[in-house]
């Protein structure tokens, strides 16, 4: 089969869903799938206190299992997306004969490498509603998972350095307000009050003219989200298989029959590609070509200093975003690298540019020291929006193309994909993100917010 044929196939409007039957009936035909519940210690201040005295050990956050020969759903990718899908399948829909596979440890990919910024002040109504649902889920996540994910809604500032980006900020603010999202454009004086270390004078080469201020935005403890979902999924009987790499996906007559891993084969009627950084490679295994290029995004962290920055600060024009963690470290990230690569080694020019942009914004920080730099892989789509849902291969679902915004969307993606699997129907909240849009040429408009026009 030529590459071209495969492409055409990927672009054919998708009509064939999963045998036309909702998931639950499939599950019945497959038998099994009862969630083995077990007692699990609830985390609480009291229990911390009690165990402090009794020295009782904490039970494991999740268990290890042998690979079963079949599951109802195989989720590829043990990051926040994959684990959230499994969690919601089990807890909301009672679908528990599910496994999550990760080629390394859970949260080792994008989930553990992002800069943990949460916000919903997107540009398109579709985007705003979707990310707002995620923020809402994040707000209740510590309580729902009984795992403190430390969501710090400290406010989020997107700086504008020229009139066209200020216009885009206003555009976002207007759309946000119509969607009931707390978001407004503020001027340099208010910015200075929120972030005293910012230089809002006319001195810089690209002076700060204003900012989009989004009070519910903030940062989160990304690992905790991963662990919390993993623990919650495990409790309901989901199998989490770490160090389990998918090496192939079996397709028969246009539908998925299972996956091949380095630890053995699994048969499954539904395989979800919930990877970031490897989305093209997994999809290529079933011949579904993706509109994705993969580039590293680099980030860095400094040594800690006493708290001085209590807001997330983003500058699109200067390609930098930063926040200070509760530990005192300044975490910053850049835009994606200018050419695709699967290398996560990091580069010097990136961190030089990043440092100069940080100092342009906050000149007082020149003696802060960078302790570590790292990179994560971003699957960039042409319209800066994800690809979610059905594909031309029956039973092969995707939750991919997460660019630089995947972590923000973890909970809502898990919820929506679980719903999709349970109902065999695309939930309204992710309809706009279907793969077909690249075939019909009806791309989404988030690019205007992500890249700065002229």
């Amino acid at each position: 089969m030529s590459g071209r044929d495969r492409i055409s196939r990927a672009l054919t409007p998708v009509t064939g869903r999963l045998s036309g039957k909702p998931y639950k009936s499939i599950r019945n035909t497959l038998g099994k799938g009862t969630g083995e519940k077990r007692g699990q210690a609830r985390y609480s201040a009291f229990d911390l206190f009690r165990r402090g005295f009794t020295k009782d050990p904490w039970p494991p956050v999740w268990r290890e299992h042998e690979l079963s020969s079949s599951y109802d759903v195989v989720v590829v990718g043990g990051g926040v997306h994959g684990l959230a899908i499994a969690y919601y399948l089990a807890h909301r829909h009672g679908i528990t004969n599910v496994c999550v596979l990760d080629k390394s440890y859970v949260g080792s990919g994008g989930s553990g490498r992002n800069t943990a910024i949460i916000r919903s002040n997107y540009l398109t109504p579709d985007g705003v509603r979707f990310y707002d649902r995620s923020v809402k889920l994040y707000e209740n996540l510590s309580a729902e998972l009984n795992f403190n994910v430390m969501f710090s809604q400290r406010g989020h500032l997107t700086l504008a350095h020229n009139d066209s980006s200020l216009r885009t900020m206003r555009w976002r603010a207007e759309v946000n307000k119509l969607e009931n999202i707390d978001s407004e454009v503020i001027g340099p004086e208010e910015i200075k009050k929120l972030v005293p270390y910012l230089d809002v004078s006319s001195e810089p080469r690209y002076p700060i003219l204003g900012a989009l201020y989004h009070p519910p935005g903030g940062i989160i403890r990304h690992d905790a989200v991963v662990w919390g979902y993993a623990r919650g999924a495990d409790t309901a009987g989901v199998h989490i298989h770490q160090n389990t790499e998918v090496v192939g996906i079996n397709v028969s007559s246009g539908r998925v029959t299972g996956v091949r891993t380095n630890r053995g084969d699994i048969s499954a009627p539904i395989v979800v590609n919930a990877t970031a950084g490897w989305a093209s490679l997994i999809s290529n295994m079933v011949g579904v070509r993706m509109p994705i290029t993969t580039s590293p995004l680099q980030a860095a962290v400094t040594e800690p200093v006493k708290p001085f920055l209590n807001t997330v600060v983003v500058s699109g024009s200067l390609h930098v975003y930063m926040s200070q963690t509760d530990r005192g470290e300044l975490v910053f990230g850049a835009s994606v690298d200018p050419f695709p690569s699967y290398s996560m080694r990091g580069s010097l020019d990136f961190i030089e540019g990043l440092a100069s942009h940080v100092l342009e914004l906050m000149p007082a920080l020149s003696k802060m020291r960078v302790l570590r730099q790292w990179a994560g892989l971003c699957d960039m789509t042409p319209d800066y929006s994800p690809i979610m849902g059905f594909t031309p291969v029956e039973g092969f679902l995707v939750d991919v193309g997460w660019g630089t915004y995947g972590f923000k969307a973890g909970p809502v993606s898990g919820e929506a994909m679980a719903q999709l699997i349970a109902d065999n129907k695309t939930p309204q909240i992710i309809e706009a993100f279907a793969l077909e849009r690249f075939g019909t040429g009806e791309l989404l408009g988030e690019k205007g917010a992500a890249s700065v026009g002229h």
């Binding site: 492409i7 093209s280 070509r289 509109p291 994705i292 993969t294 200018p338 580069s347 020019d349």
Partner: protein
């Protein structure tokens, strides 16, 4: 920073160049179907390993050329100018 071997100027820092994209042929604009055209616009193989891609030497000679690059190691081999430059060089 990786070195990109410009066929005219020799190896230079990658920051002198613009990455253009995966090498992909432009379909005939008058006969291409929507599927073919949008595959050309959006779809990429995005391989892990060797790939053929176009670069432009923006801060140098202003030439488009193709290289083969390993997307894991960023090693580069087999460099060639786009046909135009080669033709012009001869004329």
């Amino acid at each position: 920073m990786i070195l990109i071997p410009c066929p005219n100027c020799g190896p230079r820092n990658a920051s002198e160049f613009r990455y253009v994209g995966e090498s992909i042929a432009r379909p005939d604009p008058n006969s291409a179907t929507q599927e073919q055209w949008r595959a050309y616009l959006y779809e990429r193989v995005n391989p892990s390993g060797w790939t053929t891609e176009s670069w432009f030497h923006r801060a140098g000679c202003g030439r488009y050329f193709k290289i083969e690059r390993d997307t894991n190691s960023n090693e580069v081999r087999a460099v060639r100018l786009e046909p135009a430059a080669a033709t012009k060089g001869e004329s």
